[in-house]
Symmetry: C2
């Protein structure tokens, strides 16, 4: 604690992103990046971008992009909010909706940024425990609360709720905003965007980072009824008028227009995931049912931390969480078939 | 107020950016954008950017860019923080340093985003009045406070304090963080970056938006001693791990490396400013002494709002503030010589 810091700064528990080492080349299966490049339309958008435009401020309303996203998801433009990565969108949403009297709820095993947001905005929270199979028990959420946020599929487990289960959650919590964080939804889970018009308490958050291979671009968005989007805009316009820069805007539009490639990449990742899951099971791993672009696994005998370290020595990065209940598990991003084969081969040598 | 909003959302007074009309082509002298394109090195960086990199998350520490900025300003890398525009950097700084017991201080006429940040973080503030000539009276700041922020040169007046005056302000307020917002400093005012090592309470904020012609890129940064930068990092890592996207990083590095072009653009803007100031004085305007890329002016007889409207009808945008003490003034960004000539010519026809 420094005498110049505001009181809350010292109390923060900042998020720790997955390592992005710069010392050597790794097979990176640790941060859920897409193994395939972004759409060729992205390359075209970059090549065709006129640099002189950069001297102008962006459109503060990101009108073109918001209209394109509204069209893509069959919503009204008043139901779309964009930001500098879904992390920023989530941060604004926590501040906009979650400073209520009662604690908010999210699973004890979940995206580890949520507690960091709570620290930033001094929001109380409770974390109902996942069951032994790492599943969410929805009855834990049938209690007074100041809001709910659930990643669907959950991270780092990869396990999804059905749209029907989320519908029930929304109905049971009509007085609370329920945020469904669909960062990984494009790899096989059911989106609840279709419920936006029905539920005034639903905010869906998505990102271009995973299924659109644009983690380096930082573009996320939220979908919800107009009164929720208006609250996000009020926060954003008190924080940064122009969070989405001009090039990001142009690139996101290009990516969104290439539906065929988007579908191809999703399919390839899901096919590789299936193959990798089988290979890992053959190596003695318990593989939890994933509808995301990663697998959450636990080996029957070998400690996860050892495996993480030995894989790193072999030039392969996976994510190890040094945290209660997670410390015997690994989260492995689905790479290309070749990358996954290299992983399986390395594990074959490491395991007894 | 909506039942789903947190209490503070309804109370916010969001910032209103200058208009960016999309309906027709204007000579835009309303948002202090640079009239010259960014460095050719920027175009080269964009053309040479490999789109496949976008599938990876950026370096969360922005190591390369922070090292380059540290080198450029002759500071240590631990003294540099980067963000998604100086608006984001300022927002984090308000949260990091300004939630103290006493109200913070900034001029009554100043960057109109500051009160919006105070609303966002529930920070109390007082606004000592500029004098009749729109100058800051530093004695107003020799009082108990929870922090001070001053744009230097001030906006929308364009009037600067000297580095010696700011040194005194820092010495008189050793217990408070003093933020000097140098968004416009490259057009003739004295930077206080040289005081960073001496004053543990000084944070300097700069931007690539104006002097580097990169408003559309959104890159801002803060310079200060390590304990201040650490507080900003703690906030940032509780908000968004990767605020600076990969392309922005590459473009900013390119811009920073082209010192010659940077100096040329500054000089051209300052030369045009001098010429424009003379022309406006000849048309009956009082022109306040500017060290920024805009002029703050007041006509001896014609109402500012009328001038704003008539200029807009003529296809020229300037900034009119419908606010106490400002409602007889206009802020005019310095464009190219040709754009400024067009403005002077239009004013010649409008004025009696």
């Amino acid at each position: 604690m420094n005498r110049y810091w505001s009181k809350q700064v010292a109390a923060l528990s900042p998020y720790t992103p997955g390592e992005q080492p710069r010392d050597q080349h790794y097979i990176k299966l640790n941060t859920n990046e897409n193994p395939y490049p972004p759409s060729l339309a992205v390359a075209t958008a970059i090549a065709g971008y006129e640099p002189d435009q950069l001297r102008r401020y962006p459109d503060p309303q990101s009108t073109d992009l918001i209209e394109a996203l509204a069209g893509y998801h069959d919503l009204d433009r008043s139901q779309v909010f964009v930001g500098n990565g879904s992390d920023e969108v989530l941060a604004h949403a926590f501040q906009a909706f979650f400073r209520q009297q009662d604690p908010i709820l999210f699973p004890d095993i979940s995206y580890s940024f949520y507690p960091a947001y709570c620290g930033l905005y001094q929001i109380e929270y409770r974390q109902p425990a996942l069951d032994k199979e790492f599943c969410i028990n929805l009855q834990d959420y049938a209690t007074t609360n100041g809001g709910i946020i659930i990643p669907n599929p959950n991270a780092p487990t990869g396990i999804a709720l059905s749209a029907g289960e989320i519908r029930q959650l929304l109905a049971d919590n009509a007085e609370s905003v329920v945020i469904i964080d669909e960062a990984y939804v494009d790899f096989g889970a059911e989106s609840v965007i279709g419920l936006v018009s029905e539920f005034p308490n639903l905010l869906v958050v998505q990102t271009f980072s995973k299924s659109r291979s644009l983690a380096g671009l930082r573009l996320g968005y939220a979908l919800g009824q107009e009164h929720l989007i208006e609250a996000l805009q009020r926060i954003k316009n008190s924080f940064n008028s122009y969070p989405v820069n001009q090039l990001t805007n142009a690139i996101a539009l290009a990516s969104l227009a290439d539906e065929q490639y988007f579908q191809q990449c999703r399919e390839k990742v899901m096919a590789t995931r299936k193959r990798l899951a089988g290979d890992l099971q053959n190596l003695g791993f318990e593989v939890f049912p994933s509808t995301s672009n990663f697998l959450f696994v636990r080996h029957q005998s070998e400690a996860a931390e050892n495996l993480y370290r030995k894989l790193k020595s072999s030039g392969i990065l996976v994510r190890y969480f040094n945290a209660t209940r997670l410390d015997n598990c690994l989260r492995i991003s689905v790479g290309t078939d070749e990358e996954c084969d290299a992983l399986v081969s390395a594990l074959g040598e490491i395991l007894p």
